[in-house]
Symmetry: C2
Subunit: 238 residues, 2 copies
Amino acid sequence: MAGTASRGRRERLRAETTAEIKDVALELMASGGPGAITLRAIAREMGMTANAIYGYFATRDDLVTALVNDVYGELADALDTAGAKAPANDPAARIRSWAGTFRAWALDNPEGFRLIYGDPVPGYEAPTGGAAPEAARRACLSVTALAAAAWPHAERLHKGSEFTWSDFDPDLVEKIRPAFPDLPPAAVALALRLWARLHGLVSLEVYGHLHTQTTDPDKLFREEVAQLVRSLGIPPLS
Amino acid sequence: MAGTASRGRRERLRAETTAEIKDVALELMASGGPGAITLRAIAREMGMTANAIYGYFATRDDLVTALVNDVYGELADALDTAGAKAPANDPAARIRSWAGTFRAWALDNPEGFRLIYGDPVPGYEAPTGGAAPEAARRACLSVTALAAAAWPHAERLHKGSEFTWSDFDPDLVEKIRPAFPDLPPAAVALALRLWARLHGLVSLEVYGHLHTQTTDPDKLFREEVAQLVRSLGIPPLS
DNA sequence: GCGAAAACTATACGGCGTGAAGTTTCTGCA
DNA sequence: TGCAGAAACTTCACGCCGTATAGTTTTCGC
């Protein structure tokens, strides 16, 4: 039994060290931007040698990928709960809640936002497939819930839609259709456009391109969300 | 007269070398991403020492800033001509042309797009003020022309707007008001939102986040532009 | 033609990711 | 309990990066 206890211990230590590496990396990112994520800096902070980290992550990019996964997961969680917070029969409120949470998260975690949506780190190249697209699909599912809630109102504005299920990633479709059996492909397209529309304003703000044009990004964002709700055909004062 | 000719020669050579440095930097960026812009690589390509470049740019970031300025200028030019290509009395066509050009430019010059709108290069920190915001305002002016063309239709949808000129950057206002004397602040807000809305979809596509969700980003973009035009209250088949 | 200035090179420092080899510590089994 | 082997970690090395300093060559203006 000492054996199994020891194996458990070894594995636990390993998991703890792995977690600590990621934590330190996130701290470095928070204080110095994604560019501050370097193996040497992490090792320094932990009182180790840089090469020791190679026992936990085969390469620096693997570490960054793991971080992206974690951070994206947090974002997806936040969006999920934000979307579900407002009553299901009030799509406008759901959208406002979701959008506000998205922007707030991005402004609170600008480095995380960059990590997910930008060039995260010097020379980092995201793996094709893997964890990040998975998290993206989770976020997408979350915004699809918004589109589904708004669809009864928005449907008439999308009569001529030519979208089919084959226009979307199979993995995404596989997640969406069970969750929203009656939703047509056009609504998924709406969800993606909705997401992108908010992403545009938020990413311009996070990267500082909005500050140089407007002094009140918040007002601009509220206006955008209001017009977005209106453009979905949702009756006002719902 | 040899003197003035010589001075001219010296300055001309200097200008040529400066231009060559930037050209090589752009080539490196095109082939290896923004991260490939290194003084040593440029110097290698030019048969010089890395330090020689310091005679032309005080620091690597200064070089990147100059590149951002150039590239952003090209984009702004392309957008200007695209917007002006369609007849002034057909705002929908102008928007379609502008939007299509924006996306096409971004997909043709993904590295340039990242250079402008992302973390351009390892550890690069954009200067506050300077050339980039200037170029951003040019692009903003260009999109404002779209908003101005659409404003007669869109105005009724922005009745309750609370925007004032003080919500915008003074330099931007100074450029806009002479060019569009009758335009209210709300239309500038509309312009910024319009720009951001397209930026969202394009940046997600350039950074590869759309590929993992949809197989036909082009269709999605066309749908977005169509709905955008509709949401501006522009009558169809104009 | 000559003094000065500009352009450029040489050398060096510290930081980066990463590979190979060596050392210590821990684990599981006889 | 002792010991083979694996896992964790260190040391050393290489080539990359930006950049500071000092020295050298070329060119210009008088």
